[in-house]
Symmetry: C2
Subunit: 393 residues, 2 copies
């Protein structure tokens, strides 16, 4: 093993645990945009760093479609993989745990501990399945806000996320303007395009038409793994760039010298995708995939100039919008659209575009300039935060 997280790898938050908290168990309910209510609601979350005395140094990291609460560190000393954003969260990393208290919670509707379609419906004692109510990104943020209330954290230094995580962080600034000082959107979009919806729709069809789907009630028997794997494989192509795929695989054959002249995998890219699909189904719930993709499809906070102006009016957060040149799922023009909307409504916004061969996934991966820019932005936030604290003292 190259390093031992327990004895300390530089920059690692080390061993962490996912905590579970049950909210809305006191007679209150979580009221959703669709009108339905949920109670109780369990939330899985992790924190890194130390909350300061006046509880004012919290940063909320919002995860994307298939993310989890486990954003940094290790769950066990012999874990081979760290949390999904470990390159960016830790001591002296951009989201510096020497300065900030980082929170990451599994989204509502998820399958990593937070209440979702695979959770037990208290009304029936069985998993919700498709009886789980339809959720929106607004609902996810409403639950995150309830978690912050539970943790007694009145304000966030920043809400930050990539892809759908960026959409959630925007939703934060819109729904709780008084509670977010900064908002970071990376490789994100103000809404899904027809092409984005189309890919989501085919992914859902793959799940819905799997014979094991069984109307969503597949927790006791065979799961719709083939459909979910297809959904993931297709989506995965859209997370990578053409260039990245070419550099990584090209037309290289997999474990063979010559073409098979059969229907096994010939090319390395085929085996890679199949591996992506089969490892995904081990950790992810098909119903969650349906709910979260639909929530993404529905996200559209700026449908017209009047609504946009009204929604942005109370917003005081400063925005950092970042994109990657080879991202074609949410390409840079989508980020620029967010910037245009914010500028037009006289919000404070910085935009940066980075070069990377990694497409949509770039926000998760090492990229020096991107890392430096995030670090600089959060250092500035920290300086402002310290200045305010000394003024107050």
């Amino acid at each position: 093993m190259a390093s031992n997280p327990v004895t300390g790898q530089p920059g690692s938050v080390g061993l962490v645990t996912t905590r579970l908290v049950e909210l809305f168990n006191d007679g209150q309910t979580l009221t959703l945009d669709c009108g339905a209510t949920l109670a109780p609601v369990r939330v899985a979350y992790e924190t890194y760093g130390t909350l300061d005395a006046d509880r004012s140094n919290a940063v909320l990291v919002c995860h994307a479609l298939s993310g989890t609460a486990h954003a940094a560190g290790y769950h066990q000393a012999d874990d081979r993989r760290q949390g999904w954003w470990d390159d960016y969260i830790g001591p002296n990393k951009p989201f510096d745990t020497n300065k900030f208290f980082i929170i990451c919670s599994n989204n509502l509707g998820g399958c990593d501990g937070t209440t979702g379609p695979s959770s037990i419906d208290p009304a029936t004692g069985k998993p919700f399945g498709l009886r789980f109510p339809m959720i929106t990104l607004g609902d996810m943020v409403r639950l995150q806000k309830a978690l912050l209330d539970h943790l007694n954290i009145p304000r966030l230094v920043a809400a930050v996320g990539g892809s759908m995580g960026g959409m959630l962080s925007l939703q934060w600034a819109l729904d709780y303007p008084e509670r977010v000082k900064a908002c970071v959107l990376i490789g994100s979009t103000p809404r899904l395009s027809a092409q984005n919806i189309a890919f989501n729709a085919v992914a859902r069809q793959a799940i819905l038409s799997d014979p094991n789907f069984n109307g969503g009630d597949h927790y006791d028997g065979e799961r719709p793994e083939k459909g979910l794997a297809l959904a993931r494989m297709m989506a995965h192509i859209t997370y990578l760039s053409e260039q990245g795929l070419h550099e990584k695989f090209g037309r290289r054959l997999q474990d063979r010298e010559e073409l098979s002249f059969g229907f096994e995998n010939d090319f390395a890219v085929e085996s890679y995708l199949q591996h992506q699909g089969s490892s995904f189904v081990k950790r992810f719930d098909a119903n969650t995939y349906l709910y979260i993709t639909k929530a993404m499809d529905y996200f559209d906070p700026f449908p017209d100039p009047e609504t946009t102006a009204r929604r942005l009016k109370p917003v005081t957060a400063r925005f950092l919008v970042m994109s990657f040149d080879t991202d074609w799922r949410f390409d840079p023009s989508r980020s620029k659209e967010i910037v245009r909307i914010l500028n037009w409504n006289r919000k404070q916004v910085t935009y940066q575009e980075f070069s990377s061969p990694h497409g949509h996934d770039a926000f998760l991966l090492e990229a020096p300039q991107y890392k430096e820019s995030l670090t600089a932005f959060f250092n500035r936030l920290h300086k402002d935060h310290c200045a305010r604290a000394s003024q107050a003292a």
Copy 2:
């Protein structure tokens, strides 16, 4: 009805029939690149225009993945749709039936009349299914050449096609250099990229994992329609441009005023895709989809400079290479790669890029500049052809 094809719509070839011919029924066999042989082999084809006295005015139109022999005109007077390239084939159209004798045949491995996996295997009296041998684009061209021999057509004025049709037309120039005077490749590529193969691989997985697939033996019972529909829906997204989808559908809802907050189709683009999938499965064979996508994956005539130089050495055809700016399945850089290879090997090549919102499908659709350029190129071919004829006389 807007027009009657029988009484004559201007520019229409009118009523046509698909002809069937059985080749390799005389003791000869079609020997394939994989080493297997087929005999007999049926070919479905259509012709438009008149073959001139010295049998020298033939143009071969090669169809793409899901095309058919029915490239122009109507099969019945009340047909609502013409052949797939009717905008470009007919009197005074780019492939002018007043000047040329146009031939289009269903590709080997197809499901529109030519021998393919759904055909009866003479050895067993049952459909081939996956016992059909693996085929290549070279094999498809070899069968087209046998058809031309049968029709007693020694040389082609041009082989022409879009997408895989362009790859076939390139294969013609390479395999039968003495028989092709010109070669037209539209929205094509010298080889599939890792991303192209990835999309094909997921499409095949969708078919192979359909429970009705039954190892390819699905001709007697339920067909793997869900898998094939998924494959088509996904591929269809790649045929259209992001911009085209946006202009056509945007985030418009389908037959509803508000979001459903359920898993039916909300957006028009979802319904459109589902329609594409369900109409495709009525006319297409899942096994053919497997064979043809694999043949595309395998196509790679220029794997290295030495092979390229050797293969291009005897080629005398002049090339016309065309692309469309919003095509992202085979984007213009892929066409330019063909041009670079041809230039480097001192072949006569013209390249043109057109603007269109229609992505990969643009080659099938009306586009004035593209049409004019094709017309000009074929007028020049006709002029040269007439000059040669009068010299010979």
